[in-house]
């Protein structure tokens, strides 16, 4: 590699001189990128070889497939005139990256990849064997287990609502999985169990730890996001694994689901060494049925892969307040994924109309407005499908230079947190605090809590107070736990008064587990998953209710039903609760001691308590007995 760099040093110098007028601070960086770019342009075959044979084959296969797809599409358009439009396979792939400079000085990057699969395999008798852009591994899972909707997320870290505002797609720390099965499924639990095991293999995660003890069926909190209005929550399964740790082994299979892999398009930025050097990392897969077009004449399957990451100003910036694509991902963009119909980078510049907060380069004339999360935002758009985006250097390296300093806490309209109160190992109290920071509007929220059985909730102690007054929930769904079989499920619909803090408390007792039920690290504590607050929050601006194809992906995930409010889901932090734990360090001693005490103590005390003691007459020796015989005959007193 070093030799290679030396060989390219000439190119380096040339480009350096050309860059001198461009930018002074990031010259080194840019130059580096450029060498890499040159390298990839000039030595494409060599790069493929150096990547190893499998990667090369993979790439070839992808390319082959891409041409197939294009051919198909062309065929489709040609034949559509003659045949019915439904016969056309209109698979589609879109990719998008949103960069939002956060209030705290951190930076939020959100990737969304959307694959549309124009098929309807849930129709009777239809067998699907042809996959174009949609990953086959997921397609088979969908058809085998009759999945209607599947949402899975892996998150490392906690989304800091008070500093960062609302994310585009929220997710709890650890792994979360919720699935709606089709209503033809007879054995939902069996399907669910198999599905978790299969997904565990696909994503290299410990989803196989999902079993009946941590699965719930929420009655109201998780409605299907796709087509159709299934309401029977018997076909819904929800589980979280708050302890799941997300790392590169989960990222790699996730990237493999993309049509271009991580070879082209936005996905080249997904390098694990940078993605995991951040404050927050969340990756998700959402599959649901959607309309193919605006009139909803045909259905399609939508696979949305999202990846959200927040980079820390302090640890990554080393004091300098500037961001670039290279600094964040150690790569720059050079091309769109050839299979993508749209490939865009959005940079949120709403807070920065005159450029007083940060400076964005290169500047782009393309602006786009979108209503997202109850706010009208303005974005600079970089369209990667257009060659002029990459400019002279044939690479796009966005650069953000901070001028002001943020740091003040935000006041998001809806915010929730949770903690365990009390001390000692016998009882405790779970406090969930929900804030409504809207100045004058009250709105209802759905609170869902799933608590493992080993925290025995005292549901009679459940209190909901807002503004130090009792706040009676209008709907309560409580399913008590069964020891070792089922967790507690508590769902409540609570009306939050305007500008208020609502506190939900419930007391619990910590159960004493059987000694085989403790984890290998029992003194670490036991996790209780995040509680989920779902709400329709009053919007400041009119939400956009009509769905259009060219809407940016980040604003089109949750369907908007009315103009005046928007849907928000907030996850609280998971809890770590200590249970009474035996001292496992010397089980042997304990067993020995206990056995000895029981054997010796109990045995002898039992003896002492139940026996009656009598002094028995000692039997006389033979000589004395003989003497007594003689004495008796003689009539003298006997010897004793």
């Amino acid at each position: 590699m070093a030799a290679h760099r030396c060989g390219l040093s000439l190119v380096f110098i040339l480009i350096f001189s050309s860059l001198a007028c461009h930018s002074s601070c990031d010259s080194l960086e840019n130059a580096n990128e450029d060498t890499e770019e040159k390298q990839s342009v000039s030595d494409t075959p060599r790069e493929v070889n150096s990547d190893g044979s499998i990667a090369a084959e993979d790439l070839n296969e992808r390319r082959g497939r891409s041409t197939d797809a294009e051919l198909d599409r062309r065929d489709g358009t040609r034949t559509s005139e003659a045949l019915t439009p439904a016969a056309a396979a209109r698979d589609e792939f879109q990719e998008e990256l949103v960069i939002r400079p956060l209030h705290s000085g951190d930076i939020y990057a959100s990737f969304q990849f959307r694959t549309l699969w124009d098929t309807d395999f849930l129709q009777e008798g239809q067998k699907v064997s042809h996959y174009r852009l949609f990953p086959k591994s997921l397609g088979q899972v969908l058809s085998k287990f009759s999945v209607r909707e599947l949402h899975i997320s892996f998150t490392q870290g906690f989304w800091r609502t008070m500093q960062w505002g609302q994310p585009f797609i929220p997710s709890p720390p650890g792994a979360e999985l919720w699935v709606w099965f089709h209503d033809t499924v007879s054995d939902v639990d069996g399907n669910w169990k198999e599905l978790t095991n299969v997904l565990s293999g696909i994503f290299c995660a410990s989803l196989n730890f999902i079993d009946l003890t941590n699965t719930v069926q929420p009655s109201a909190s998780f409605k299907p996001l796709g087509l159709g209005n299934a309401t029977d929550h018997r076909f819904l399964r929800y589980a979280t694994l708050p302890r799941e740790i997300v790392c590169t082994e989960n990222l790699t299979p996730w990237k493999k689901l993309l049509p271009c892999g991580s070879k082209a398009g936005l996905a080249v930025l997904l390098k694990s060494e940078k993605l995991f050097h951040s404050s927050f990392h969340s990756q998700a897969v959402h599959i649901r049925p959607v309309c193919q077009d605006e009139q909803c004449t045909s259905k399609a399957w939508e696979l949305r892969q999202t990846l959200n990451v927040v980079f820390d100003l302090y640890t990554a910036g080393q004091g300098k307040k500037e961001w670039s694509l290279f600094k964040m991902f150690s790569r720059t963009l050079t091309e769109a994924c050839p299979l993508a119909t749209s490939s865009k980078v959005y940079v949120d510049i709403t807070d920065n109309p005159e450029g007083e907060l940060f400076e964005l380069s290169p500047a782009t004339p393309l602006l786009s407005q979108a209503v997202v999360l109850g706010d009208r935002r303005t974005y600079s758009v970089f369209d990667l499908t257009r060659a002029e985006t990459f400019g002279q250097l044939r690479s796009l390296n966005l650069l953000l230079r901070w001028k002001g300093d943020g740091g003040e806490m935000l006041r998001p309209l809806l915010h929730a947190e949770r903690y365990v109160a009390g001390f000692g190992l016998q009882t405790g109290e779970i406090h969930t605090v929900i804030y409504n920071n809207h100045p004058y509007r009250a709105f209802p929220v759905l609170l869902m809590d799933s608590v493992p059985w080993y925290l025995q909730l005292y549901i009679h102690t459940l209190t909901v107070t807002s503004k130090s007054r009792d706040n009676k929930p209008s709907y309560i769904h409580y399913q008590p736990a069964k020891d070792r079989h089922r967790p507690h499920l508590l769902e409540m619909l609570i009306q939050l008064p305007p500008h208020s803090m609502t506190e939900v408390t419930v007391q619990f007792e910590r159960a004493l587990l059987k000694w085989t039920e403790y984890t290998p690290d029992p003194n670490h504590g036991f996790y209780v998953g995040s509680s989920v607050v779902s709400a329709l929050v009053p919007s400041m601006v009119a939400m956009n209710t009509n769905f259009t194809q060219d809407q940016p992906l980040f604003s089109s995930f949750v369907p908007v039903k009315e103009e005046s409010s928007y849907f928000v889901r907030v996850y609280t932090e998971p809890l770590l609760v200590n249970l009474p734990t035996p001292d496992f360090s010397m089980p042997y001693n304990v067993i020995c001691l206990t056995c000895t005490v029981v054997a010796v103590g109990y045995g002898s005390f039992y003896n002492l308590l139940t026996r009656t003691f009598q002094v028995d007459e000692p039997s006389l020796p033979l000589a004395k007995r003989l003497a007594n015989l003689i004495r008796r005959i003689r009539g003298v007193p006997l010897l004793t």
Binding site: F276, F280, Y314, Y419, F423, G525, L575, F613
Partner: protein, 606 residues
């Protein structure tokens, strides 16, 4: 058990115990004392070792380098403290915010039951400022706490400044797996108590505080920092917490390991370690260190901000910088590195500290005495009480007194009840009667409380036997035996329970109470024994402890000074109970003192 089920052998055994009762008791007592003193002898103790795997093998590399900046920050903090005339809350909030922490404040107020003359406070009102460093990619489930008290005057400025410097340095690191809370608390222990109660949403001491806004999950460990000079000669580790609770020994081991690594002189109880265990001086030194620990633990108060954390199952210790004008100096950078190393090791913890001992005594930082070694010393003293129960007269009369027609039980009931009522009076009246006392006598509130306590204590000496005689006439021979039997069993249970929770307290009480209670009968020369009993009563035990403590910390006091100290110790004990829930004062007033009164009653039986 064959021994007990065989009546003739049983007879032999009881015969032996009755015949040799007194010699056996004396031998046990002496053996107990000798065993205890032997604990400080180095060959009998164990070397400390790191039990926790997560903190052991991986030595971290410390890179903290902004000690100088911390010192200039200390000057700035001092200036702002002077300007604000207390804690510069706004400045601290800004300072923490600019270092990238999430900053929150908590205000609290507390009215003391009576004015604290040592610290000159009565109505306490203050603010805690704390900043949370959020660990990247951790879901707010675990936290570590570093606290520095904001003390009045120009003490502890360096601690606060070092805290801020560490926060700045820590913020730029990526490896944190637990959130770190930097807490600057006002009014030392009261502030800590308010913060802890707020964090755990409990109210056990009647404190008024504003609820906390930011939390970071369950706290795994805490370090309290006290530093009042730019350079220090040694670092002192303080472990004794509320009610004699101690943090896990691994925390002490961690501190010792880093002191060794960075070449910082470290002390415990302010005493350096010596290597000459085989000389008399070496042994005395170790014995003194251990005795200091026993005395500090026995008094049940929190000897630093860390002490209050222990109630919440948070392992905590105080690190105190000492500048004793010795030649060898350590600068702020090294202390910062030491703390960095400790915090990083704690950050590596996978579970709570639980591997090592929770019950131990330290004759030096590198040697410890575990519970298995020190408990026999107490056991030898406690067994005396049980041996005295088997004293033949007592055994016999017990079986007699259980018969319903016998008057024995009733005669016992009166002194027991009266003693305990005296105890309740001693517990309740001093605080509740202070206003009346201040009205009638020319004393301050604090003096009123302490003097009322002493007055009730003294009055109790006159009360029980007089009333008892008044109620039931002359005591019978059998009556006192039943009373003594009850009192012995009671004392044995009391001391046993105390020693399990707070060994030092149990042991000190046993040393003074056991000899006299074991030997007391009404047939002794009254005046002499009354004097001996008073001199070995719980109050005098406290007085002796004050003198011994002063002797051990090499600040001997005269009798009058000692008396003043004794008075302040009593007032502190009552205050600790009211403010932090220390249990030593109620234990002494409600149980030990009435128990002692029962024996006093026996002496004056007829």
């Amino acid at each position: 058990m064959g021994l007990l089920s065989d009546p003739s052998r049983r007879k032999v055994l009881t015969g032996l115990l009755t015949r040799l009762n007194t010699p056996i008791c004396i031998v046990c007592y002496l053996a107990g004392i000798v065993w205890f003193m032997g604990l400080a002898f180095e060959p009998f103790t164990l070397r400390t070792y790191m039990s926790e795997n997560a903190m052991g093998s991986t030595m971290v590399e410390e890179r903290f380098s902004s000690g100088e900046r911390a010192l200039s920050l200390a000057k700035e903090f001092d200036a702002h403290k002077r300007k604000a005339g207390g804690m510069p809350v706004e400045w601290l909030v800004k300072a923490m915010q600019s270092r990238g922490l999430e900053v929150f404040t908590q205000s609290f107020s507390r009215k003391l039951p009576f004015p604290d003359e040592n610290k000159e406070r009565y109505m306490v009102r203050g603010t805690n400022v704390y900043g949370i460093l959020r660990a990247p990619r951790a879901p707010r489930t675990e936290a570590l706490v570093i606290t520095a008290p904001c003390s009045p005057g120009n003490t502890n400025n360096q601690a606060v400044a070092l805290l801020l410097a560490l926060a700045q340095y820590f913020r730029n690191q990526i490896y944190w797996a637990k959130d770190i809370i930097f807490l600057v608390n006002e009014h030392d222990l009261i502030g800590t108590q308010a913060w802890l109660e707020g964090y755990h949403h409990t109210n056990i001491t009647g404190m008024e505080y504003s609820p906390l806004q930011g939390r970071a999950g369950s706290i795994q460990a805490a370090l309290s920092l006290e530093l009042s000079s730019d350079v220090i000669t040694s670092l002192d580790l303080v472990l004794e917490g509320l009610n004699g609770q101690l943090p896990n020994l691994d925390l002490a081991n961690l501190f010792y390991a880093f002191c060794q690594k960075l070449g910082v002189l470290c002390t415990i109880q302010g005493k350096l370690q010596r290597n000459d265990w085989d000389t008399a001086e070496g042994y005395t030194h170790a014995a003194q260190t251990m005795m200091l620990m026993v005395l500090k633990q026995a008094c049940g108060r929190s000897w630093g901000d860390h002490g209050l954390f222990l109630r919440y199952h948070i392992e905590a210790a105080s690190v105190r910088g000492i500048n004793s004008f010795r030649h060898y100096k350590t600068d702020a950078t090294t202390i910062g590195r030491l703390l960095e190393g400790m915090v990083r090791k704690l950050n590596n913890l996978l579970e709570r500290l639980h591997q090592s001992y929770f019950f131990y005594l330290l004759p030096s930082l590198s040697r410890f005495v575990s519970i298995g070694y020190y408990m026999p010393a107490f056991g030898l003293l406690a067994v005396i009480l049980l041996l005295r129960v088997s004293f033949p007269g007592l055994c016999h009369c017990f079986s007699v007194s259980l018969q319903p027609s016998s008057p024995g039980v009733l005669t016992v009931l009166t002194p027991v009840v009266i003693s305990h009522l005296t105890g309740v009076a001693l517990y309740l009246l001093p605080v509740h009667l202070q206003e009346m006392a201040v009205e009638h006598f020319p004393v301050s509130e604090t003096e009123a409380v302490v003097l009322t306590a002493i007055a009730i204590y003294t009055a109790g000496l006159a009360l029980p036997h007089n009333t008892q005689r008044l109620l039931s006439g002359e005591g019978t021979e059998q009556g006192w035996k039943v009373l003594k039997l009850t009192a012995l069993l009671y004392l044995a249970v009391l001391l046993g329970c105390t020693a399990l929770i707070n060994f030092s307290l149990g042991f000190i009480l046993a040393v003074t109470l056991v000899p006299i209670t074991a030997s007391i009968t009404p047939h002794m020369p009254k005046a002499l024994y009354a004097l001996v009993m008073v001199l070995l009563s719980p109050a005098f035990t406290i007085l002796y402890c004050v003198f011994i403590y002063q002797e051990l910390i090499e600040a001997p006091v005269s009798v009058s000074e000692g008396w003043m100290l004794f008075l302040s110790v009593i007032s502190q004990g009552i205050l600790d109970h009211a403010l932090y829930g220390s249990l030593v004062y109620p234990l002494l007033a409600l149980f030990i003192y009435p128990c002692w009164l029962m024996f006093w009653n026996i002496l004056f039986w007829n």
